[in-house]
């Protein structure tokens, strides 16, 4: 591993965190080898590359591993800085971008997990929270084309992979994202027009099937 040149991504197809890395690499036009991981039987390479968390995604660049999706995206942005900047150059705008990506990290996945894992009152509470989160994000987007303004950037990369999961959240929570956050849905469509996003989109129904499998696994369904 040590002296291998090139870029490898250890990932799992449905992971929104992995998709962040895929989108960032595509935006920068970086050639890389995609290695789908079996999370039930973790490979030696994964365990060696991410001994602390043993999770995907892991970006391996010239033999050196980088872990944690947002850290990976920032690394990609800083190394391949000559094309499609994802973070703004102004320190304050950068801080804002980091704040909102951090917000997505802290809120969306966790709440979404509760939506499919829990039932009854707890599920209802998760749904209410998800609506609040989406509306906060929608307010942050405002009437901008993307979260960063006119150009697709860091917060867009951080959040757009969760769009594959919207159908699952809506179906399980019995609500419509378009009804509660219509501008957000428009933003999703805009992002999907970008090649980097279109190439990493999975059929939401496939994701829903996967969620069904998770529910059975955790004894929820």
């Amino acid at each position: 591993m040590a002296s291998e040149k090139g870029v490898t991504l250890l990932d799992f197809w449905v992971s929104p965190f992995g998709q962040r890395a895929r989108i960032a690499l595509a935006e920068k036009g970086v050639h890389y080898e995609y290695k789908e991981q079996n999370l039930a039987e973790k490979s030696d390479l994964l365990l060696k590359s991410n001994p602390v968390y043993k999770k995907i995604p892991v970006l391996i660049h010239d033999g050196k591993p980088v872990c944690e999706s947002l850290i990976i995206v920032q690394y990609i942005d800083e190394v391949w800085s000559d094309k499609s900047p994802l973070l703004p150059s102004d320190p304050y705008q950068k801080a804002q971008a980091r704040f909102w990506a951090d917000f997505v990290d802290k809120k969306v996945f966790d709440c979404g997990t509760r939506l499919w894992k829990l039932k009854g009152e707890e599920q209802e509470a998760a749904k209410k929270e998800m609506i609040e989160i989406l509306q906060l994000l929608e307010a942050q987007l405002g009437d901008k084309k993307y979260f960063g303004g006119d150009t697709f950037g860091y917060v867009d990369v951080a959040f757009i992979p969760f769009n594959n999961w919207f159908y699952s959240y809506e179906t399980l929570g019995n609500f419509s994202i378009e009804a509660v956050a219509p501008t957000l849905v428009e933003w999703v469509e805009r992002c999907k027009e970008r090649e980097s996003v279109a190439k990493t989109i999975y059929d939401p129904k496939k994701v829903y099937e996967f969620v069904g499998y998770l529910q059975k696994k955790f004894g929820v369904a």
């Binding site: 602390v52 980088v66 850290i71 320190p91 704040f99 906060l136």
Partner: protein, 234 residues
Amino acid sequence: MPQEREKQMEETVKLLGTKGSPLSHRAEVALRLKEVKFEFLNEDLAHKSDMLLRYNPIHKKVPVLVHGEKPIAESLIVIEYVDEAFEGYNILPRDPYERAMARFWARFIDEKVIPAFWMSCWTDGETQKGFIAQSKETLTTLQRQLEGKRFFGGDSIGLVDLAGCMIAFWFAVLQEVAGINLLNEEDYPVLCRWAEDYCRVGAVSESLLDRNLLVAHFASKKERIFATKAPVYD
């Protein structure tokens, strides 16, 4: 003097923080390392100021850095902002891979080291044993990162050292109040040596609350913290 720098120096810098809060401390040290003149506005977290609620409506927490009229929240984000907006001391490394490593370990401290230690202090019985085991693992993993270095940042303190401030100063206080002995010289000689060195750095010692005050504070809140498991700084 370049125009940008002049403009920066004209804009006032306020730090909304709470003396005794490690997150607040992180932001304070970052500003001192850059020799930025700032006004510290102490927040009473039991009665949050209108300013705090206006500048951090999402999380309503400290620290919040206000540069001119621009608010920046979340301690690690504040540190990176201070590093980028002001010249001088390098808080993060300049190499992208080293930066990624620094961010990784800062996050590890926040997501794994601190929660495991915190819960070790405020639980009992089997639950506590579980958290103590977890805590030991995370401290061992973190200590390994110090191998051959004076600080996590190398010869001088950096992002990971600032992120680890709670370990360097608050952990000893917490374990004294909680009556456990997790972080000690025998088990973690390297980490304990680092803790002492960290606390001796000028910018750090200026930002630390008197230890006795901190012990008294946590001792007085002990029951409440045990019940809620939530940090109490009011």
